[in-house]
């Protein structure tokens, strides 16, 4: 997925639990970089239009990925607001469907990702923006000024991932209690739960059970 991570073993058991004989398999996940042109569908048009409307295209956009019929633009975080304004005003992506986070702890220096699905009702197109920030400096500029509807979505992403959206009018927790410690949807935050007891047996909490990965 991101940065040549690898996944060893078939059943996800570390140590001696694997008796299948397939424990030696290694699956390599390679960072594919940008998709080569032509992208197909309307994706070429969108990128061409963006390049024309935004001279700093090559500087601001790190990767253009077309996968499974979806276009993703990876944008440098300091350029996010500029690109968003051009996408909204020039390319008519009037609607931002919010933002959500993904935590990639193995992606060093880019641990926290923010994903913005955009929708153009005029042209009936979709594009996804992806922005990353390091864990040590989890700041991403807010897009509330561009799309007011991002207000709650950014609060939720802050609540769950600890991404600080600079310029948000009131960045507070939204789903968890105000004094909650930690950011629940990060990968290093345990699921929790309590063991379930039966007569004579106990089923451990979901994140402590042996499972296939």
């Amino acid at each position: 997925m991101s940065e040549n991570s690898e996944d060893k073993g078939m059943f996800g058991v570390s140590g001696t639990g694997d008796t299948s004989g397939y424990g030696g398999l290694v699956r390599q996940q390679v960072n594919a970089g940008s998709t080569p042109r032509p992208y197909g569908s309307y994706f070429d048009d969108v990128t061409d239009e963006l390049e024309r409307a935004y001279p700093e295209f090559n500087d601001a956009i790190e990767r253009v990925v077309v996968d499974r019929g979806e276009l993703t633009l990876y944008i440098k975080r300091e350029k996010l607001v500029e690109v968003a304004l051009i996408l909204r005003d020039k390319l008519l992506f009037e609607v931002c469907l919010g933002v959500n986070g993904v935590h990639y702890p193995q992606d060093k220096g880019r641990e926290l990702h923010a994903i913005y699905p955009l929708l153009s009702m005029t042209n009936n197109r979709r594009v996804r923006l992806e922005v990353s920030a390091p864990d040590s400096d989890p700041h991403i500029p807010s897009l509330v000024e561009v799309w007011a509807g991002n207000n709650w979505h950014e609060r939720e992403t802050y609540d769950m991932f600890g991404i600080i959206f600079d310029g948000h009018p009131a960045l507070t927790r939204i789903l968890m209690p105000d004094d909650w410690p930690g950011y629940p949807q990060r990968k290093d935050y345990p699921l929790g739960g309590i063991p379930v007891e039966y007569i004579g047996a106990t089923v451990p909490a979901p994140d402590e059970r042996r499972s296939y990965r």
Binding site: D67, R68, E70, T72, V95, G98, P117, G149, M176, S211
Partner: protein, 442 residues
């Protein structure tokens, strides 16, 4: 100031917190105070907030100057929990988000998983038609709650009784098809959990006939009703630019005259094969949203009829992808102890083939692997765009599951709809958004 529980100084002046007591006393004392502003905390336990929504209202007299929503009281961590289950088990969780339209949650999720697996084209036609049929039935049952409770909250009792009567009939169909009335986890990646029972289509056709007649009767209760119009006309106003910048979709958007319906504009599950109209209104108010929901019922009935026709032609066709590495056993049967794998299937895996048994065990406990990547699949739920955003790292469990839920986005519009209006209109405005708190908080 004995009725006030406490008061505190803030940068905006002294703020009193009212925590109950006799409202007449409260009103008298407020009237004698110099300060006009009152903060009222409505909910989270309040009969007209659709669950556990908390509204904080700042009033001047009866006019709302500011309104803020407090949410999170129904946060259940569904997104996080799903990361610890297989892709198929995930359906059981996400069906519980928007508990009034579970089939939409399931379909959005399964469409996204299928996109990740690159099997969107392989999903059998019959499975897609069943999904459409079930979703449209679900749209009716969900709109029935929206219309019924919405009317009840504004003081109209009878529409609620009739709406829940029709909803009950639809839930009976769900029970017949899936075994459950809510949260049925019926749609699965690759198809649906099981085929329709043999008498399902005739029962559904009968239901469509009854509903069509009943909807006509029910309409007479509210459409054109003077009291209803006075409570809803020009109330909760939100125009097109407001909807666009707030990311509002569904009936609230269509009430501004924008004919945006994903079933038409970006069809999924072969919606392009069905004939139906996108209903709009141009009033931008609660009455317009109400009329849209009323008329969408008839459109759903039309789609259901067409889906029935389609399914009759596809009788006996598979309802799960052919790839046995992905397909969960879809030959369930109702036994003496409830719904389970069919005896035929059990006989095969237990009696005839060791490999079948191993395969069954592996796919049920370990699940299937999904190639790494991310996908977003939107569907038009009764409330607007419901999008499933999934990330896979190539394993048997999702790496990240996020739902862009219409209730969450649309609820943001409460402030824009209510500020400057009367306090009595808050209830109408919130009801017209039709938020489901399970969908908001997930």
């Amino acid at each position: 100031m004995s009725t006030f529980a406490s008061s505190r100084e803030t940068t905006e002046g002294r703020i009193y917190s009212v925590t109950g007591g006799d409202w007449e006393d409260v009103a008298r004392e407020i009237g004698s105070a110099k300060e006009e502003r009152v903060i009222v905390n409505m909910g989270p336990q309040h009969p007209s907030t659709h669950g556990v929504l908390r509204l904080m209202l700042e009033l001047e007299g009866e006019t709302i100057t500011e309104l803020r929503c407090g949410i999170g009281y129904l946060h259940t961590g569904i997104e996080k929990n799903t990361e610890y289950r297989t892709w198929t088990q995930g359906v059981t969780f996400i069906t519980r988000m928007d508990y009034l339209s579970p089939l939409f949650n399931e379909t959005a999720y399964c469409l996204a998983v299928e996109k990740l697996l690159n099997i969107t084209d392989q999903v059998p036609e019959r499975a897609s038609a069943i999904r459409v049929l079930m979703m449209e039935l679900n749209r009716i049952s969900s709109h029935m709650v929206a219309l019924g409770t919405g009317a009840l909250e504004l003081g109209a009792m009878a529409p609620m009784f009739f709406a829940f009567r029709e909803r009950e009939r639809v839930l009976d169909i769900f029970e017949m098809v899936s075994g459950l009335r809510m949260n049925m986890a019926y749609v699965r990646p690759g198809g649906v959990a099981q085929d329709l029972p043999s008498d399902a289509l005739s029962k559904i056709r009968e239901l469509v006939k009854d509903l069509r007649k009943n909807f006509k009767d029910n309409e007479k209760l509210l459409v054109g009703n003077t009291i209803w119009i006075k409570r809803t006309k020009d109330v909760g106003y939100l125009d097109l630019p407001g909807c666009i910048t707030l990311g509002i979709t569904g009936p609230v958007l269509r009430a501004t005259g924008m004919p945006w319906d994903l079933r038409k504009t970006q069809p999924y599950c072969s919606y392009e094969d069905y004939k139906f109209d996108v209903i709009t209104a141009d009033t931008c108010d609660v009455y317009g949203r109400f009329l849209i929901r009323m008329q969408e019922l008839e459109q759903s009935l039309r789609i259901i009829e067409q889906a029935c026709d389609k399914l009759e032609k596809l009788d006996g066709a598979p309802v799960m992808v052919a790839d046995k590495k992905i397909a969960w056993p879809a030959q369930l049967a109702l036994g003496g102890d409830g719904l389970g794998n069919s005896l035929e299937h059990i006989r095969q895996i237990m009696g005839t083939s060791m490999e079948s048994l191993i395969h069954h065990f592996k796919i049920v406990t370990e699940g299937f692997r999904v190639p790494a990547g991310q996908a977003y699949a939107p569907v038009e739920s009764p409330r607007g765009e419901l999008g499933a955003y999934l990330v896979s790292d190539g394993g048997t469990r999702p790496y990240r599951v996020h739902f862009r839920t219409p209730s969450f986005s649309n609820l943001q519009a409460t402030s824009a709809m209510c500020e400057g209006s009367l306090i009595a209109d808050v209830v109408a405005a919130v009801a017209s958004i039709d938020p489901v708190m399970g969908d908001v908080d997930r």
